[in-house]
Amino acid sequence: MELVVDQLSVARAGVPVLRGVAFRLAPGRALLLRGPNGVGKTTLLRVLAGLQPPLAGRVSLDPDNFAYAAHADGIKSTLSVAENLNFWADLHGTRGSTGIEVALAAFHLSDLAERAAGALSAGQKRRLGLARLLVTGRPIWILDEPTVSLDRDAVTWFADVVRAHLANGGSAIIASHIELGLDAEVIELEPFRASWSSATNDTDFDEAFL
């Protein structure tokens, strides 16, 4: 179940942003994506999650190996914290096996379980969004700036959860600007930035549209 990404090019709104990205990710390992604002981290992660097709290149695993946590959390503010998690557990068919208690406990949300999700602060919401990962039961986590709004304690809880996931043979791809204290490979995306000149065959009219 090694993930192999090969010569991947991705586009945002039709404009290529990254070209020729390649990496391998073995089970039990984490990968940090680094790169300045606007380099294309979010776009790359959406491609991996199967939400948009790549421009070129190959991802060795099916999208349903990935659990994606985006900038937006997908939280329903009128449902309680527990109802939100239960929904995701049901949808992924993991209600019986994992149980949401583990996920709640991991992010110290058990006390807030009955609270309507709309009445959480920014960081609490984020924790709920991350707890969702645990109930998907998927091996590879794709995390887009997961620690936004988290306080220092919450960041360590998050790192613990990721470490436990890796120890269980899972893996994770994380885009983040801050230090997480994880033992992970780092890939810098700046060199893959798609520039005008790096377009492969500029003469092809069809290609020139892109």
Binding site: L51, G74, L79, W88, L91
Partner: protein, 218 residues
């Protein structure tokens, strides 16, 4: 899929979820008509079946943007799309939830509102039947429209614009059934057509909706 249906129904019931508001809108449209066209009973009775159908259609239309846009805005739709459920099933369930929370109440309320417009007595049964047959098609077509406009900020009005032409056949046959019913005329042809449209859209349109949704998500 049951989880999704239950969640949508639960969300609709919660504060601000919009359950009953479609109904209220229907009520209000029907109430406004006499203010506009004047209070003459005999005139109102003549236009009643048509107005009731148009009112139901508009009430349905207004709630369409809740079907997908809310889930889009808070990111749930992306996450649902990556979950292990086929998108065709997702849009069908969404349409079903919309019908249960909007269409069905309209069907039940229509006879009461018929009173307000002096709908002739034989019309009530046919009006209800035609709405019962027609509103599921409205929900399914509406879900298609919602899928088309999901990425757009406040696609609400654009959505109406796209969906209304698609509603025209349903409206024509539905209102025809109701009108002929009210005037005690033969109505098998429009009834059969209405039923046919509904079955056809339910069977086929979810595939189009899912395809369109997939495009909009990327």
């Amino acid at each position: 899929m049951r989880a999704l249906l239950l969640r949508d129904l639960r969300l609709a019931m919660r504060a601000g979820g919009g359950f009953g508001l479609g109904l209220a809108f229907f009520l209000i449209v029907v109430v406004l008509v006499p203010f506009g066209v004047g209070p003459q009973t005999e005139l109102l009775a003549r236009i009643a079946p048509g107005i009731l159908w148009i009112g139901a259609l508009l009430a349905c239309l207004l709630s369409l943007d809740r079907i997908l846009a809310l889930d889009w805005e808070d990111g749930s739709l992306d996450l649902i799309a990556t979950a292990p459920v086929p998108l065709e099933a997702v849009v069908s369930v969404k349409a079903l939830a919309h019908w249960l929370t909007t269409g069905l109440p309209l069907v039940l309320a229509a006879p009461v509102l018929g009173l307000l417009l002096n709908l002739p007595a034989p019309g009530y049964g046919w009006l209800t039947l035609s709405l019962l047959l027609g509103t599921p098609a409205l929900s399914v077509i509406g879900t298609f429209g919602a899928a088309l406009t999901v990425g757009l900020k406040r696609g609400g009005l654009l959505l109406s614009l796209l969906v209304l032409p698609l509603y025209v056949p349903v409206l024509i046959f539905g209102a025809e059934v109701a009108r002929r019913g009210a005037e005690a005329m033969a109505l098998t042809t429009p009834l059969a057509m209405l039923a046919g449209i509904t079955c056809g859209t339910i069977a086929l349109l979810p595939f189009a909706s899912a395809a369109v949704l997939r495009m909009n998500l990327r």
